[in-house]
Amino acid sequence: MTETIVKNEYDVLEQQKQAVEDIISVRLITDENAVFSRTDGGFVSLTFTGEDGKTVEYNRVAVHRCFPHSDPNHYISIREPDGDGREIGLIEDLSSLSDETVNMLEEQLSLRYFTPKIIRLKNIREEYGYSYWDVVTDKGACRFTVRMGSGNVYSIGKNRYLINDLDGNRFEIPDLYEMTPREIKQLDLFI
């Protein structure tokens, strides 16, 4: 009787240990242990062989950046798409993978991090706590509205700025000093 209790407890502790290990360990994804491929539906699937030698197939994976602004091509987290979104593994350096894989993953990343770059600033008008932007981006011309004064325009690197609009859309100014003096002057309000 006592034996079984102790044994059960031991099992549970083992389980617990395993679960904790699962959470705190870092699994790296490389060309050796992972095969990514395109699905017909425009997603990416993954066949992954873990350290224990077990191979798992994922019909679709989610691709997240750990440092979307400061280091977009390193530490790419590959996650289960649904539920908790548990991490399957981490790609330390995107460029270490085959070109084909890199292309595939970059497609997925561009879906997730849609951020048009502002290439021309036609006008910014400020009125009553909102600023109204009229811009041309690499994805087309558009107009959007930004709430003033609560950090919706912020620096994400040297001379690089990110703008959040009312819809939660993001726009990027890749290099402030690439812009014309007139445009910089308009941005003066925010920077």
Binding site: G83, F114, E126, Y132, W133, K139, S150
Partner: protein
């Protein structure tokens, strides 16, 4: 349907669709997404008919317009280019996958999970609705009633409101000038203001009289022994008496002016504090009215600054600036009239620089406005940082990051300095322009006047020149004032704009008009609710459960599963995005706030202590509570023993600046608060999270007393605290994964069992090790 359809699809596109065989009458739902598959910003029409899902790419070259921006003139030429369609019977399982920005519209086509379309955050709501419509079409369910969106466009000008729930049209508000709005705060002081106005008028006139007396009258009438004036006064030839009279009248003018000034000062002194207090009170009341979401979106430091210094700044102008502006305008006008009647040539020389001067200020004004806005923004950041650094002093010290904090601070501090310098820089340009406008005319008047005296032999007299010089001298004050009034005005209107932003903000959660005032018994039902703090991050997904009045419901789940969010929804701190929450069979939205908040009390993991005595803190929700009731509540919350040990007992001042209480003590005070409130529905959100085991036992005991006869919703990590729950639900990642009684869930051997087993075994092991 056709009407709502036309809001989404322009007629020209409908025509084009008709030509491709999509009958307008067969359309069941439609939405306009805003991106091609490559992410180009372009209109894409998604149309759901009885049998098909149609995609039509717009050929429009117009700018994409996101929320808040003014819509473009309606384009009649918009038609469609690329066009493809899917038969509905091939499609299953439509869904929206949220992305960092916007989302993907995903459907299984012949069983293959495929993303069909991308869209930005602007379309998230509409796409969700469309997705639901498609789902209903496939499953044959009845689509949910389309509840019309809240007003999105300003009824006056058709401009879209920049933010959902804030029905203030910025465009129309500009017309309703801020200035006059501030004046409305002065309404109740009407009589005083009339007097003030009168005083200013009198002193304005008097000010312009004295240069005339000391100039023309003294030099041309008295000193040149002009006979006309003394004769008129009945003292012919007596110029000594004449001089005496003149000196007396100059003295009298001065005296009256001083007297009027004193009255004016006293009137203003009564006015200022009253109006400032009124504005501050107004802003504070507005803040109280706003929903919790408003505060989480903004930095507290910046809000505090607004309430305080902005009101002062606005008033500074109205109290000190405006009266002097009026006074100076009077002085200016009267002096002008006198000067022109004396000699138009010299008057012209004195005034000719004014128009260009005002033009220059007009041009410089917008820049000054910007510079000021920028300064106040940086100052606000500084305040927030200050809040951060001082509030987090413990962490800063613990990690030895004082230098880092200093650097962080000095960075922002430098920015404040730069912004300040810029303000001074633009201000200086004003000063230069105004000095020029002052000195050049003065030079001109001297030379022109002297020339006139030399040339005109008698018609232009020395006294007139001296009068003019006096006037010019006197006008330096008003001129200087005018140069700074612009600065002042900018500053004050900037502040006013920020103040009104708060006053005009609409609470996202509003009471219904004929809200219910009834007694709540406490039965709670959740029907399929979904909720997210931000539009594209759903925290809770399709949760349904119900609790009978008087029952205890336990909510279990990992951290971040959405437990606290769920209870926030029940007391309506936030409104659900989808589904409904019913209390006693009526929607929570139908209850008045007094009924709802009076019936629900919360003991949460964050305990907030207000500045005041312990007794006041316990009695926070019921200020009429007697001492006896307060002591009894404290006893029930096992707070009484520690309170009695304090030297000042229940009168101990706690909260910011008061006596420090430990986490457990604060928790017990907030439990006492809930006990005293005597709610029908009690929410315990990790009520015993920050106390030691012994205190927890004491609190558990008091809670057990407290929950009797009330509907209780209890969140806990430690499952042992939920052992007397009638019903348990398990949340995982915002979804309800299990529900049932303790016994049922143990039987089921699912998530709950796993959690329970882990905890109890861990506890058992610990006690063996001990």
């Amino acid at each position: 349907m056709v009407d709502t359809l036309k809001k989404v699809i322009p007629e020209s596109v409908l025509d084009a669709l008709n030509k491709r065989g999509v009958e307008t009458n067969s359309i069941n739902a439609a939405v306009c997404a805003d991106m091609t598959n490559d992410g180009e910003l372009k209109n894409i029409y998604l149309i759901l008919t009885d049998a098909r899902l149609v995609f039509a790419l717009s050929n429009s070259e117009d700018d994409m317009v996101f929320s808040g921006a003014s819509p473009l003139r309606s384009v009649s030429s918009e038609s469609i280019g690329e066009f493809y369609e899917y038969k509905l019977d091939r499609l299953t399982n439509p869904k929206i996958i949220d992305q960092v920005v916007g989302g993907l519209f995903v459907v299984d086509i012949d069983g293959v999970e495929t993303w069909l379309c991308r869209f930005s955050g602007a379309k998230l709501r509409e796409m969700r609705r469309f997705c639901k419509a498609l789902e209903c079409s496939i499953t044959g369910e009845k689509p949910p009633d389309e509840n019309e969106d809240d007003a999105v466009y300003c009824p006056k000008c058709g401009h879209p409101y920049p933010e959902k729930g804030r029905t203030v049209c910025p465009k129309c508000m500009v017309k309703r000038a801020i200035f006059f709005r501030i004046l409305s705060f002065f309404k109740s002081y009407r009589l005083r203001i009339v007097f003030l106005f009168l005083c200013m008028m009198i002193s304005g006139v008097l000010t312009s009289v004295s240069p005339y007396l000391t100039g023309s009258v003294l030099f041309d009438k008295v000193l040149t022994r002009d006979q006309a004036l003394p004769e008129k006064l009945g003292i012919p030839g007596n110029f000594t008496l004449m001089l005496l009279l003149l000196v007396l009248s100059i003295a009298a003018v001065q005296l009256i002016q001083q007297f009027v000034g004193v009255i004016q000062g006293r009137l203003a002194a009564h006015l200022v504090p009253g109006v400032v207090a009124k504005i501050k009170g107004n802003v504070f009341a507005s803040l109280q009215r706003l929903s919790i979401g408003f505060f989480t979106r903004r930095q507290t430091g910046s809000l505090m600054q607004r309430v305080n210094s902005d009101a002062n700044e606005v008033m500074g102008f109205f109290i000190d600036g405006l009266p002097y502006l009026i006074y100076n305008i009077f002085t200016f006008a009267f002096s002008g009239i006198i000067m022109f009647t004396l000699d138009w040539r010299l008057a012209l020389a004195s005034f000719f620089l004014l128009p260009p001067l005002f033009y220059v200020s007009y041009r410089l004004l917008p820049r000054l406005w910007h510079a000021h806005g920028r300064r106040s923004r940086t100052v606000r950041t500084l305040y927030a940082l200050l809040n951060d650094g001082i509030g987090g002093a413990r962490v800063v010290k613990a990690f030895g990051q004082e230098d880092h904090e200093n650097r962080r601070f000095s960075k922002v501090n430098d920015r404040v300095r730069d912004a300040e310098i810029q303000v001074v820089k633009y201000g200086n340009r004003f000063d230069i322009a105004y000095s020029l406008a002052r000195e050049i005319p003065s030079l001109l008047v001297w030379s022109l006047g002297a020339l006139l005296i030399l040339r005109s032999s008698g018609t232009f007299k020395l006294g007139e020149l001296i009068t003019f010089i006096n006037f010019l001298h006197m006008m330096q004050g008003p001129m200087h004032f005018f140069s700074s009034i612009f600065r002042w005005w900018t500053n004050s209107m900037n502040a006013a704009q920020r103040v009104f932003e708060i006053i005009d903000a609409n609470p996202e959660i509003a009471e219904k008009e004929n809200a219910l005032h009834t007694d709540i018994k406490g039965g709670i039902t959740l029907n399929n609710i979904s909720f997210g703090y931000e539009p594209n991050k759903t925290i809770l997904k399709n949760i349904s459960f119900s609790v009978k009045a008087g029952e205890i419901l336990g909510i279990v789940g990992k951290s971040g599963a959405g437990k606290s969010t769920l209870v926030n929804l029940i007391s309506r701190l936030y409104d659900v995005d989808e589904g409904e929450i019913m209390i006693d069979g009526a929607n929570v939205k139908d209850y008045s706030f007094t009924t709802l908040r009076g019936a629900v009390a919360m003991v949460s993991q964050e305990t907030y202590i207000f500045i005041g005595t312990i007794a006041e803190n316990i009695g926070y929700a019921c200020p009429d509570a007697s001492r006896k009731e307060i002591v009894r509540a404290a006893q029930a919350a096992s707070a009484h023993p520690f309170i009695c040990r304090l030297p000042d007992g229940y009168d101990t001042i706690i909260g910011a600046g008061g006596r420090e209480l430990s986490g457990g003590e604060r928790q017990r005070i907030s439990i006492a608060r809930a006990i005293l409130a005597d709610p029908q529905i009690l929410v315990l959100d990790e009520a015993t999270a920050s106390v030691d085991t012994e205190t927890e036992r004491a609190i558990q005991a008091s809670l057990e007393k407290l929950v009797r006869g009330r509907t209780t919703i209890s969140i806990a990590h430690r499952l042992s605290t939920l052992r007397n729950a009638d019903h348990l639900i398990v949340l995982d990642d915002g979804k309800l994964v299990e529900s049932g009684t303790h016994a049922e869930l143990v039987e089921k051997r699912g998530e709950y069992y796993k959690l329970l087993e882990l905890q109890s075994k861990a506890l058992a092991m610990r006690s063996i090790e001990d």
